[in-house]
Assembly symmetry: D2
Homo-oligomer: 142 residues x 4
């Protein structure tokens, strides 16, 4: 049921979205219902106080659901985010951020999922997002 493995997703990301290398994002697990990503703790996405910035967390959540969708429908570069809602819950620690993305619905036209972001080593989430992607009718393949 999986259309792409972690290695496929990684190769696709590096080819289609070279700027993602900036973040050194790692795909840790790909399951039928979602993926787990790791964002290494680096100075470059920090805000004052040494915590990971809000925009970085939003980008991470968005990437998480994107990869969860691609793992099921294949390399559809033109799937686009239509809605993203995020709640920032706690200040992230000085640690990697783990993103658990989970599909709630994978329809023909819309995919919806939730992403829970946690500082590595902590139980309580730092942020939680729900995201909708629109899937192009012709599933334009790159």
């Amino acid at each position: 049921m999986l259309a792409m493995t972690a290695e496929d997703l990684d190769r696709f990301l590096k080819t289609e979205f070279p700027e993602i290398n900036h973040f050194d994002l790692r795909i840790e697990e790909v399951r039928e219902d979602g993926v787990r990503l790791r964002l290494p703790y680096h100075a470059r996405h920090l805000r004052p106080g040494g915590t990971v910035s809000g925009p970085t967390l939003m980008a991470l959540a968005d990437s998480g659901l994107y990869l969860a969708i691609l793992s099921r429908i294949g390399p559809v570069a033109l799937a686009v985010t239509t809605n993203l809602n995020i709640n920032f819950l706690r200040r992230p620690g000085q640690a990697d951020v783990i993103a658990e993305a989970r599909l709630l619905k994978l329809g023909r036209r819309l995919a919806v999922g939730e992403v829970t972001l946690t500082s590595d080593g902590q139980d309580e989430p730092v942020a939680h997002a729900t995201i909708t992607y629109s899937i192009p009718p012709d599933r334009d393949r790159s």
Copy 2:
């Protein structure tokens, strides 16, 4: 760690929010991290086609997180919803709706949680909401 049992919550609801009796809402389980509610399938919250209406699902999700918060902090009638975000995922079946509310954060000023709504007997959720409540500083007790 629980400040109110299912029976306490039920009594509080019926006293403070008599209009909820209209829905015949049932509190099925109260845990530290959330509650499970059941909305019996009745004609009065249906929309054309025999499905539970969107506004009814929104009210159910909102009540679910409210009760999850009260079960932890006690009967604070003045906790108010500040943000509610809901994704409607599938058409509900002709069945009871089960609401699983789960706290993501219970802070001094804000509580955030997610609520998954399912038609009884089905696996896939019909809707998913994330909700924020503001908790009054003095925790005004009714």
Copy 3:
């Protein structure tokens, strides 16, 4: 450019959604980019303290955008809400609630709009919602 007048919308609502009569909703204006509704102040959608309940405000916002979409594409009963996000800003007064719904995008598959809710006679909004509707491909006409 308008497919339905206020009278058309009113007739459609009463036929397709008889439960809406419960609210005595009034369509005050229909423009190309949106509609204005009035929810008369009645005891039946109040919560303790004499204010209009949150679920009633959510239902009003949802109806507002639905009517704004129908006024442009005609009586498509099967347009469904896919996402609703609402911020509750102030306690509503003991007055009618005015809903100003405004289309942000009317695409072939998705329509997005915002709805500002105000207590009649006040300047500051009591709530603000952004809502997405999915429009069926065949625009199934009732």
Copy 4:
């Protein structure tokens, strides 16, 4: 009624958030109810196809409301985003992005606003966000 001018805000941003220089963000107007920002069209925040990336639009919206709040309450570095909801409406053009941030509520504890993002020279918005900030009780001044 304004606590900070465009020049004050610009100086504050450059001191407290040096990474924002990366984006070359410009504060074009500061009014009582909001601010207007301009994000110059540069290659570095583009995604494949030459459009401004989603994460860049989210960061821009978030900054817009942050500056609108600071312009009213002064340089409170510790105001933090608690919720951000964004709808992506249209593909941005190859042009600067204009962000119009508008306050919907400026309370003692929470501030809520909306931000409309437009490609310079176009009428229709490319994205629309509603955002909530939590304001620290002591308004910690940097």
